[in-house]
């Protein structure tokens, strides 16, 4: 996953560290809505739930989970591509 991510050019990165409300997934959803098909969006999150919440939503909404990357300590970068 990490090697795929290293080669992925992000269209946008959302810094959702410390965002409990509305939270990283809500930030991703609002950005996906206004993104173009094919755009790749990264979410920086310190919320442990994001590594399960975001892939679950991407699967439900039929977008592509490009990968999850360790950034620093508890901070992860989760990357999703808008597919439709």
């Amino acid at each position: 996953m990490t090697s795929v991510l290293n080669q992925t050019q992000l269209t946008k990165e959302i810094d959702a560290r410390g965002s409990f409300c509305p939270g990283p997934l809500m930030e991703l959803i609002r950005n996906i809505k206004t993104a173009n098909i094919g755009d790749t969006i990264g979410v920086l999150s310190s919320d442990k739930g994001s590594i399960t919440d975001i892939p679950a939503w991407a699967a439900k909404a039929r977008h592509e989970l490009v990968g999850i990357q360790d950034v620093n300590g508890d901070i992860k970068r989760i990357v999703v591509r808008k597919t439709h």
């Binding site: 959302i14 810094d15 959702a16 560290r17 410390g18 965002s19 409990f20 409300c21 509305p22 939270g23 990283p24 997934l25 809500m26 930030e27 959803i29 609002r30 809505k33 206004t34 739930g49 919440d53 679950a56 939503w57 439900k60 909404a61």
Partner: protein, 386 residues
């Protein structure tokens, strides 16, 4: 060194009124001229609109003269901003106002957010909400006529201000219908964009059992894509369709119109802001607070309330050529919100960038505190007493 710096504050809501008053307290008249521009001469207490649909609050009691809340040395201009001229440090106003443009040395943007139901096809025609005074009145009329059926309540777009309000509304709605004797004839469905009933896990853990206890059905992973008013259908981007008799969906929000696509904001008008200094990126003489920013935090009056002292401290230090000092030298993400859970009980959420909220069990005490705060707001918050 400029003679007497001109500070221009845009917006007469919680953030704009409070920051102007704090600056007027901190800076001597010889240190700065302060002008506030507001599109409306009234200051609105928007959290009160939650109660209007149930007839529990008269919206006329939720606004006051903006001038009456401002420190006497603040100059008030009523007018809608049409454009920011960043190069010439000017703000242009719409229409035939007495003042066509105002120049600034320092600018504070607190123009908030606005609902844009038109961003979701069919939502304006098919859905209700309570995020403007007019919409809250209309929903009140619809609920007065409602005789039973399926009410769908949820988040109709992101971002939206006051993140707990949809949850509060559905709890109050259930109480309202029970008191009216219509609960048995009514199915209530609450929808939410992600895989639980609220974004914060600790809040969802308290709210989910309450929803279940009161027979409120839940549809998660529901991001409203369109509404078909003719067939009375709410359709999600995940492919779920819900039939409704009455639809209450919080519309998506955008920043002020003049900010959409401007050099300091994105296409939806959210201003690119530093999460700690609250300075607008690449513009050290411009600050933003409240709903206006692109920060991934709650769009709520409480956010503006805790951000304003930081902007006041930093801007004062900047004018005086000093370093910001003390607990307000940077913003730590602090927000405090009440959560009404119906039947005269409420909980309270307090959190910041590093600490999620610990949610106390709903009790009458927090409900009483919220009711007291709703009344005390006018004396405490815009004036900067707390």
């Amino acid at each position: 060194m400029m003679d007497c710096p001109r500070i221009l504050v845009l917006g007469g809501g919680t953030g704009g009124t409070l920051i102007a008053n704090l600056l007027a307290k901190k800076l001597r008249p010889s240190e700065a001229n302060i002008t506030l521009i507001s599109a409306s001469p009234r200051h609105l207490y928007q959290p009160g609109w939650l109660y209007v649909p149930f007839g529990w609050q008269d919206p006329r009691s939720l606004s006051r003269s903006l001038k009456s809340l401002l420190n006497k040395r603040i100059k008030l201009e009523i007018g809608a901003v049409s454009k920011l001229d960043l190069e010439n440090h000017r703000v242009l106003l719409e229409g035939n106002t007495q003042t066509a443009s105002l120049e600034y040395d320092y600018l504070v943007i607190a123009t908030g957010s606005r609902v844009t139901p038109e961003d979701v096809p069919g939502l304006s025609e098919g859905g209700h909400h309570f995020y403007t005074e007019e919409a809250a009145w209309k929903l009140h009329a619809a609920l007065e006529e409602f005789q039973g059926g399926h009410i769908v309540v949820g988040v109709g777009g992101l971002p939206h201000k006051c993140p707990v309000a949809p949850l509060e509304f559905v709890f109050l709605l259930e109480e309202f219908l029970t008191r009216k004797g219509l609960r048995d004839q009514t199915k209530i469905t609450y929808t939410y964009p992600i895989n639980r009933v609220f974004s914060i896990e600790t809040v969802a853990e308290v709210a989910a059992p309450l929803l279940a206890e009161r027979g409120i059905e839940v549809e998660t992973f529901f991001n409203l894509e369109s509404v078909d008013p003719a067939r009375k259908l709410a359709i999600s981007m995940e492919g779920t369709e819900l039939e409704y008799d009455l639809l209450v969906m919080i519309p998506p929000h955008r920043g002020a119109k003049f900010l959409e696509g401007s050099a300091i904001a994105d296409a939806q008008g959210w201003v690119s802001t530093d999460r700690e200094t609250l300075q607008v990126k690449d513009h050290p003489n411009i600050y933003a607070l409240g709903d206006t920013t692109d920060l991934p935090i709650s769009k709520a009056g409480s956010t503006a309330h805790f951000e304003a002292p930081v902007v006041a401290e930093r801007l004062t230090a900047q004018i005086r050529g000093l370093q910001p000092e003390g607990k307000h030298s940077s913003y730590n993400g602090k927000v405090i919100c009440f959560l009404e859970s119906g039947y005269e009980k409420a909980s309270i959420l307090a959190f910041d960038y590093d600490n999620p909220p610990k949610v106390p069990t709903p009790s009458w005490l927090y409900h009483f505190e919220k009711m007291a705060f709703n009344k005390a707001y006018w004396y405490l918050v815009p004036t900067g007493v707390v």
